[in-house]
């Protein structure tokens, strides 16, 4: 089963037509992700990694090629592909529990009783250690906590794929490390298929089964794919001196800075 591709991207191309003219963001993207795999997309800012994630999410549709998830073409966003947004995107007028509940209600509302739905929402919050803040509104909790609730909202839908768009980008280093560890535990428990966008090399190596490295835009494509063969569960402290870990890290750095250094800031 694990060899069969769950997400299949074939020859995807993305051209945005803006006021300044056409912008060729992505070309010839070919990628397949197996069920239960953790894949990260890494690249310099502006390389279109978030665009690729949005294509998989169905938030934008490609101008060429096709995307398939679980043997069905991706034509629109849907709860089976849950997205954790970079800026958490919790609704400020709802409590944490209500934010999660909104998602739960949509996915399971037709089949389950109200008590069951509430239990699911609470369980999702408990999974990210946020049960204590169920009744709080987003402005009352810290950035890291908001991101956790965002993850809880995504996980509560029991998605086939979890799409993470630089989920820890706005957090301080310690909080980020903590949430990475928690994400690892959660993914190990739920066997989720994950596609994550990041620009953090350590994060990519620590979390991924494979790292997809993207060339610089415009017209970015996949430059290289690196398989990370480190045993799980992974421990960041032990891995820091692990020869394989250091080697993988060097590979990614080499790709990003030696071969595809950020040429110009424009664009």
């Amino acid at each position: 089963m694990s060899t069969a591709s769950f997400i299949e991207v074939r020859d995807a191309e993305m051209v945005f037509s803006t006021k300044k003219g056409r912008f060729h963001a992505l070309r010839e993207i070919n990628l397949s992700v197996a069920k239960g795999e953790f894949v990260t997309l890494i690249g310099h800012s502006g390389c279109g990694k978030s665009t690729l994630l949005n294509l998989i999410a169905g938030l934008t549709l490609p101008t060429g090629g096709s995307l398939i998830c679980d043997a069905r073409e991706i034509a629109a966003p849907g709860p089976e592909r849950a997205v954790v947004f970079q800026n958490h995107s919790l609704l400020p007028w709802l409590t944490c529990l209500e934010n999660v509940h909104l998602a739960v209600e949509r996915v399971f509302g037709a089949r389950e009783t109200k008590a069951q739905l509430k239990e699911r929402s609470l369980a999702a919050l408990a999974l990210v250690n946020m049960a204590h803040a169920a009744a709080k509104r987003p402005h009352e909790i810290s950035g890291g906590m908001k991101q956790r609730v965002g993850i809880a909202r995504a996980l509560a839908m029991e998605p086939k794929v979890l799409l993470l768009d630089e989920p820890f980008g706005a957090l301080d280093a310690l909080t980020r490390a903590h949430l990475q560890d928690e994400l690892l535990k959660i993914v190990a428990r739920t066997h989720s298929t994950v596609v994550m966008v990041t620009h953090d090399v350590d994060e990519a190596v620590l979390l991924s089964d494979r790292i997809v490295m993207m060339t610089n835009g415009p017209a970015a494509t996949i430059g290289e794919v690196l398989a990370i063969e480190l045993a799980r569960p992974r421990n960041r402290v032990e891995l820091a001196e692990d020869a394989k870990y250091v080697h993988y890290r060097k590979e990614v750095l080499d790709f990003l800075y030696t071969r595809h250094g950020h040429v110009e800031q424009a664009a």
Binding site: P79, L91, R106, H139
Partner: protein
């Protein structure tokens, strides 16, 4: 002489802005006897908050008193205050359609405002939602709005009289058409400014259109909408006085006109204060509602 004139207006001044300055009267003597501030209560802060408005009102009344000192057709603050006490001692008498107490006049005006404004909200808010949500409608409506919005309220009154053939519906119609624009425009702007992230959340969760409206659009637009409502109520209250002057009947605007015909300037001044205070109360009430419903930005 001057000090005597100054004292009585101080009473009428504190009577007028009753809702805001209920406390200043006991606090006013404080500057005369400066006491050492107590530990438990910050008298200085209270003083700084209360004193400026009191000075402002005192200044108005003082200037008014100075200008009317020599007599003439314009009543003094003291005379106005005594008359106001008389008028308000029996606000709900009724001696035929043209002679009713001030309470009735205010209530009739408020009722017209409520009906006209309520209808405007009923039409304007949904219209604003549609205009904000669909750019086709936006392009369609924006020239109409730009064309009709600057028209003076009273220009609509003849149209109302023509269509409804009665004064009361015509006044309500004028309120309706004048107070609808701020609600339409603000609601539409609010809908257009709903953050794209929230709508993306809705798309990923695949929420039904109903859920999108109740859980995302409506709460996100509510603060904008309430700003529109506030502006609209202000406009409605402005317009009602003018409309009633022309249509007659029972109402604060008609009362002003009637007292002008009686050359009772004191009553006109009382009416001006009453109109101001009622407008202030309407505004304060809606600000309170708006505060209750605005959410903290994340």
């Amino acid at each position: 002489m001057v000090s005597a004139v100054f004292h009585s207006p101080a009473g009428s001044g504190s009577e007028a802005p009753a809702p805001v300055a209920a406390k200043p009267v006991p606090a006013a003597p404080a500057p005369v006897l400066p006491k050492a501030p107590r530990r438990a209560f910050d008298w200085n802060a209270l003083l700084l908050k209360v004193l400026p408005p009191v000075i402002g009102i005192a200044l108005l009344v003082g200037v008014w008193a100075l200008l009317t000192m020599k007599g003439g057709s314009f009543p003094t603050p003291a005379a106005t205050f005594t008359e106001a006490v008389k008028v308000f001692s029996d606000p709900f008498y009724s001696k035929g359609p043209n002679d009713q107490g001030i309470g009735w006049n205010i209530l009739f005006s408020l009722q017209r405002v409520a009906v006209g404004f309520g209808l405007a909200a009923l039409v304007g808010i949904p219209a604003g939602f549609l205009i904000g949500r669909f750019s086709f409608l936006n392009h369609m409506a924006s020239p109409l709005i730009s064309l009709l919005r600057p028209v003076s309220p009273l220009a609509w009154l003849p149209i109302g009289l023509l269509v409804f053939k009665a004064a009361n519906p015509a006044a309500i119609w004028t309120i309706f058409i004048c107070s609808i624009w701020p609600m339409v425009i603000n609601t539409a702007v609010g809908v257009q400014r709903v953050p794209a992230d929230y709508l993306n959340v809705a798309r990923v969760l695949n929420l039904s259109e109903w859920k999108v409206i109740t859980r995302i659009l409506f709460p996100a637009v509510l603060p904008y909408m309430l700003t529109g409502v506030r502006l609209s109520v202000g406009t409605a209250w402005l317009v009602i006085v003018a409309a009633e002057m022309l249509t007659g009947g029972v109402g604060i605007g008609f009362w002003v006109w009637d007292e002008w015909n009686n050359l009772n300037v004191t009553h006109i001044l009382i009416a001006i204060f009453v109109i101001g205070i009622v407008g202030l109360l309407l505004e304060a009430a809606l600000v309170a509602v708006a505060k209750r419903f605005t959410y903290e930005e994340v």
